[in-house]
Symmetry: C2
Subunit: 351 residues, 2 copies
Amino acid sequence: MNLKQLSEKLSLSQTTVSRALNGYPEVAEETRRRVADAAKRFGYRPSPSARRLATGKAGMIGYVMPTGDAVHIDTHFIEFLSGIGDYARTHELDLALSPTNLDDEEATYRRLLAAHRVDAVYVSSPTTADWRIRLLEESGMPYIVHGRSEGHDFEFPFLDIDNEGAFHDAARLLLQLGHERIALLNGNEGQTFADHRERGMRKALAAHGLILPDRFVSRMTMTEENGYRAARRLLADSDRPTALICASLMQALGIMRAVGDLGLSIPDDLSLISHDDVFPFLKPEGFSTPLTTTCSPIRAAGERIAERLAARIAQTETGPVGEVWPVDLIVRGSVGRAPRKVTKQRLVSPA
Amino acid sequence: MNLKQLSEKLSLSQTTVSRALNGYPEVAEETRRRVADAAKRFGYRPSPSARRLATGKAGMIGYVMPTGDAVHIDTHFIEFLSGIGDYARTHELDLALSPTNLDDEEATYRRLLAAHRVDAVYVSSPTTADWRIRLLEESGMPYIVHGRSEGHDFEFPFLDIDNEGAFHDAARLLLQLGHERIALLNGNEGQTFADHRERGMRKALAAHGLILPDRFVSRMTMTEENGYRAARRLLADSDRPTALICASLMQALGIMRAVGDLGLSIPDDLSLISHDDVFPFLKPEGFSTPLTTTCSPIRAAGERIAERLAARIAQTETGPVGEVWPVDLIVRGSVGRAPRKVTKQRLVSPA
DNA sequence: AAAGCTTTCCAAAGCGCTTTGGCTGCCGCA
DNA sequence: TGCGGCAGCCAAAGCGCTTTGGAAAGCTTT
């Protein structure tokens, strides 16, 4: 059933039916209702291709997906993608992926921009002075950055969470509980969000007259394995930290394994706070010791980005709009008062 | 630059130019060359939307991507997707993802089929008597299954690797090296590829008059963690296996960690063979003990599936074509002769 | 040399939608 | 009574491509 047939059934012109369906003002309310009814009854679905041809929009949002050597396949990616998809599928949008290996990334972007097959693009995991942002800014293609990037001489539209505030609050909580040796297991070098988190934590410490010693902060790809390693190293020290803040649940899992191996316990020997991007397959409240987290659903962010991209395509949103989402600190069983003292005995006790 | 403009520049009709570009026969070779030249020179790119409207094809291949509770985010997924994308981007195809949570999966499929927005679909990780295959078969939508599914009363097009042969060969190699206690760390219940692998291994053992005892085979989601756990359990046994075959590199990593923790060594105490789907970020030849693998690049499979889907859309390929790729057994340092005997001492030696 | 093929090209009709530029009544106003 | 204004509708012109149904020109055949 197409527009023409539908309009004939209604004894209306295609123009009117089209306008009724798309919410244009110059159509009587009563008519609009009739049209909407009929459309539903006959199961009318406008053809995307026709619409795209007529409007000149591709109806797609694009993402350049790096794959290849040295690319850490990110668990966040799919979850975020799902959020985008949630919005996309209900709004006549499609999500087109352009895989690329890291070497070709710039070429892939340029091709994407030139080929005019997508209406908007989003950029994830921006690094400092990310060249992709500059490229997009110059191209005129609507885009949104998920996260922030520093070191540009222009503003750009982004959606980010308040990483600094989140880790500030997390650290402050631990300080209030009497912890003074707090370590940070952070994301990789160059990732803006990791910089922000570290900054937030340092500020909280500074407010208590403390600093974050180098040996208490490590940067890493956020895997279980790396979390385990870093925790083993940290906890083997004679003046080991009494609390840990980490940047992802994967790291938290590794940390908990390390803690178990060493015969320590959470929160008695170590308080632990993790950032949680809210994965459906991993719930910190279900851990054997429920985990305190700074929490921000990444899927919702994906959905919001899709929504804003749609707005930018429609020119409803313009300019370098920045959006920073607050992050909740959810206190659960994994934090407790700082232990009085670390006994020698415990330090060497085996698994 | 569109077709009309290009055809004017060439003093040809749109028809001829279109045909020349699309390889139709009724155009002189010389003309075709002129057209191709001009097209390149002016950077002409046909508009996908227009083409789609005219041909009635959506120009997209679809994938229903499960996300949500209990979905194990699969590392294979992105790599496979990349393969699809490699083909897609050079062939006027786009890859459209429809995320869904597991509960809605069937509804999502039905919507996808009804909405007519994709020309073909692929199905991954089929289970026994997979309902998705039946649904697609009945819908008339072109599709290909990546893997196989048993228990259907009809044939269907698929691309699979020779899992049975691969694990047969792997087991045979170990048997030839004198191993008699060989354990299998397999994928999850219900996954056809895992069934096939187990079958192959059993056949090889049977040919040597051996069987695979229940305690030597475990099914699991193929993660590092699960590999570690299973290996710890197996290797703690007094009559522990002298060789292990596992279904993914992730498991292999876990196994190697377990072996290290127990103070054992590969291949002296344990021979290890893993299946390798060839991830760019994980190379078994680079392991401290290079790993023997059964090897089949999953990205190439993605590419091939895209190619075949394109053929099915064009009706070049029809019918229940099945394609089974051979799997290479690549012998590296992680296999050796079976140890003479397992000493008591070793069995209890700590990390 | 006329008839019949081939080869090579073209004009024009869609594909299904959006959007421009009217056209019709009907109301209110002077 | 006449006229401008407005709400509500329509016809038709695209959007850029593919494809149908010729048609002209060149060759072969009888």
